[in-house]
């Protein structure tokens, strides 16, 4: 577990992580889940929907949130619950930044857990995802 995760307190901020989901990532996601929505991989199909480029599949953003929290936790715990409410589309090739803030640290069922508020911001600083997560620390 990172030192920051070990001494977690309400109001603590997770280090923001910027990722650029590109078209290759979107295509790998389509292959992984066998879901092929044209505007995820075909720029013309995306433009026909009025988008400037192909869209980042929403569930990729859930997976990226989970990944970022898990990397931050290291071996000290796991993500029990993660939710992404999709507010705006993100376009492939444009960076997104995942922010997290500790909303609550608590004991439940004999386990130490914490709720995190999560936001994904696009390059304009607008939230494209509002989410939350609950993490559980290993004893």
């Amino acid at each position: 577990m990172s030192a920051a995760a070990a001494s977690l307190r309400e109001g603590d901020e997770l280090p923001p992580v910027t990722i650029t989901p590109d078209l290759a990532m979107a295509i790998r996601y389509c292959g992984l889940t066998w879901v092929f929505v044209p505007f995820f991989y075909d720029v013309e199909a995306a433009r026909a929907q009025g988008m400037p480029g192909t869209l980042v599949p929403g569930p990729i953003k859930l997976g990226l949130i989970e990944r970022v929290i898990e990397e931050w936790l290291g071996d000290g715990g796991f993500v029990r619950h993660v939710r992404a409410a999709h507010r705006r589309p993100d376009i492939t090739g444009r960076p997104i930044t995942i922010h997290g803030r500790v909303a609550r640290v608590f004991e439940e069922d004999g386990k130490r857990r914490a709720d995190l508020e999560i936001i994904i911001q696009n390059v304009q600083g607008e939230p494209s995802v509002r989410g939350f997560a609950t993490i559980e620390f290993f004893a």
């Binding site: 990944r67 796991f78 939710r83």
Partner: protein, 154 residues
């Protein structure tokens, strides 16, 4: 925009509809493909069988379960939210049984998208002992783009 609900008794009766269980293994290769997706093609080796898998490896199992077909009540659809709940970390190589279920259907009159219908579906992932390991929840919205307003957060 419809003047009355499109959620008929037939549509409402879909709530609780579940598929037959499907079993699949969370193989090391499946975990590797998930790592390729969420980390990029250059990443550390995937964990060995019996070791903890990253949570996002759940995505590698998502094509496995049967799907419950949603009725097309409106011309457009949009993913509103999705979530994963884990009872414990996934383990590389474990066999998982999956059941998909429509858990809720509701509607909203007005708002940025006009009249809209929300379908919530869950996939439950259980291990060989029958214990729940994880749940994936997805809410799709059906709406008519002609009734939607531009811009802003919903």
């Amino acid at each position: 925009m419809p003047e009355s609900s499109l959620i008929t008794d037939d549509v409402r009766s879909l709530v609780g509809t579940a598929t037959a269980p499907v079993r699949a293994q969370l193989s090391r290769r499946a975990v590797e493909r998930a790592m390729d997706t969420f980390l990029g093609m250059r990443h550390p080796p995937a964990p060995e069988e019996g070791q903890r898998a990253p949570g996002y490896a759940l995505a590698a199992l998502e094509p496995e379960p049967e799907r419950v077909e949603l009725p097309n009540l409106m011309p457009n659809s949009l993913l509103i939210s999705n979530e994963w709940q884990f009872e414990r970390p996934l383990v590389v190589g474990e066999e998982i049984s999956m059941v998909t279920r429509i858990s809720d259907i509701n509607e909203r009159f007005g708002g940025r998208f006009g009249y809209s219908i929300y379908f919530r579906s869950d996939v439950e992932f259980s291990d060989a002992s029958g214990a729940l390991v994880a749940r994936s929840v997805r809410t799709m919205m059906q709406y008519d783009a002609a009734d939607a307003r531009e811009g802003g957060e919903e």
